[in-house]
Symmetry: C2
Subunit: 292 residues, 2 copies
Amino acid sequence: MEILDGRKTSNEIKEEIAKEVSKIIESGKRAPHLAAILVGDDGASLTYVNSKVKSCQKIGFESTLIKLPSDVNEDELLSKIDELNNDDSLDGFIVQLPLPKHIDEQKVINAVNPDKDVDGFHPTNVGKMVLDLPTYLPATPKGIMELLGRYNIDISGKHVVVIGRSHIVGSPISILMARKSNPGNATVTLTHSRTKNLKELTLTADVIVIALGKAEYLTGDMVKDGVVVIDVGITRVEDSTRKSGFKLLGDVNFDEVSKKASYITPVPGGVGPMTIASLLMNTLQAYKEKDL
Amino acid sequence: MEILDGRKTSNEIKEEIAKEVSKIIESGKRAPHLAAILVGDDGASLTYVNSKVKSCQKIGFESTLIKLPSDVNEDELLSKIDELNNDDSLDGFIVQLPLPKHIDEQKVINAVNPDKDVDGFHPTNVGKMVLDLPTYLPATPKGIMELLGRYNIDISGKHVVVIGRSHIVGSPISILMARKSNPGNATVTLTHSRTKNLKELTLTADVIVIALGKAEYLTGDMVKDGVVVIDVGITRVEDSTRKSGFKLLGDVNFDEVSKKASYITPVPGGVGPMTIASLLMNTLQAYKEKDL
């Protein structure tokens, strides 16, 4: 069994990007520039955004964090997005989700210029992904594909079972893995809450991607020997033995499943860091496409 | 075994639309208006387009057929599309595919205003489909969903195996069937040329959608009793016993598979007529959204 080390791989990617940014700056051009809009003061969101900003600084990107109060109205947020859409000093930006309930999240996503949508959430970019056209791939699925690619795991012709059909992970990863591309060309089964006999399917799977948010849902008896397991879930559970008072669990019962798996991602340190690396890759791509 | 009669169902849909159009016109408003651009003089394309125009006339839609020579250049075609995009008397239009090789098909599809893209081929509309947002669904997959719905075939929780991952059928039908909607909520496996052990998968399938273009590919030994079979393929094969000199075959060996199936679409008269019905439904939807 080999660990798919997302933290290490993410750091390698960041180093590669940092080298490229050094060369860009040496050549007299400006650095790539990512902005993030954070609405409100949700702790988890703030942690995520700060981590993105910190990663930008580390690799030489310029970054801008725009904090808006939790009671900002939709029009104000949309006009801020419009401003960023038209800011030529900016290559890409993200709006950290979730947004407060009084704001229509989809309306906000639709308002982002697809050319600056480095999260890959805009319908036009999602459609381009389905149609195999150049686009910004959504960060988590892109990170998973990158991780598999860097560990030389060939999924062509393999049976992949995806558990969970969310718009940001399950649905796009099922599309990416089945596409006629490399990595890709897998036979993909997309399963979800309405699926009957999930275990029958997972027992036939060469690769399992699970993104449910249910701690330790995938157990050892559900997988076959040699399976490749990608665990996207992350749940906080209380743990009085730790200083923080909690620990993070994935959707996979790691102790059981790792005994049968050929490759497996840990939680934390698996898919999570790859998501940030993908965002940085998308931003660099956006920068390059501007042809400064 | 019951035949899923696409011709009959398509005619029912057309009658329903015709009634709605009568009421629209009685109320003093103009009729819905669909235009089609046909480039060149390919026989099959001409047949398809003519059939669409004829259907429009039958149900009271206004229709416009724009024929361009096969040597039309890309810019001329794009400027014609721009003209149609800006023509307020027009609710939707299609560009009949395939296009001559000197024209970039994707560039043409991207040029159509998504609000008039009643074929549902534009990346923005494909993305909206993935994200469960209101859009124009691509005609063939929409027609299949409509056919299942009108025969009250519930696919929720069922295992659907889709054979073929084309952008216009296999890929979108796999997305539609897995979505959280009704009809929908199926467990969907998308298979293709790289899939190993296809038969193992089809033998477990409650529903099979096949869109390969390989005559009589799916045989009786590949399916289980009670399966629902949707045959999207259509291949012309020589047949000297017929006046036309040819017959049309689907991707399914009908004689063998129909003995085991609970429901099955014939070829011709199955999915084909539903595709045109969907195009008309999309055009009516476009008309209504203009709120004249």
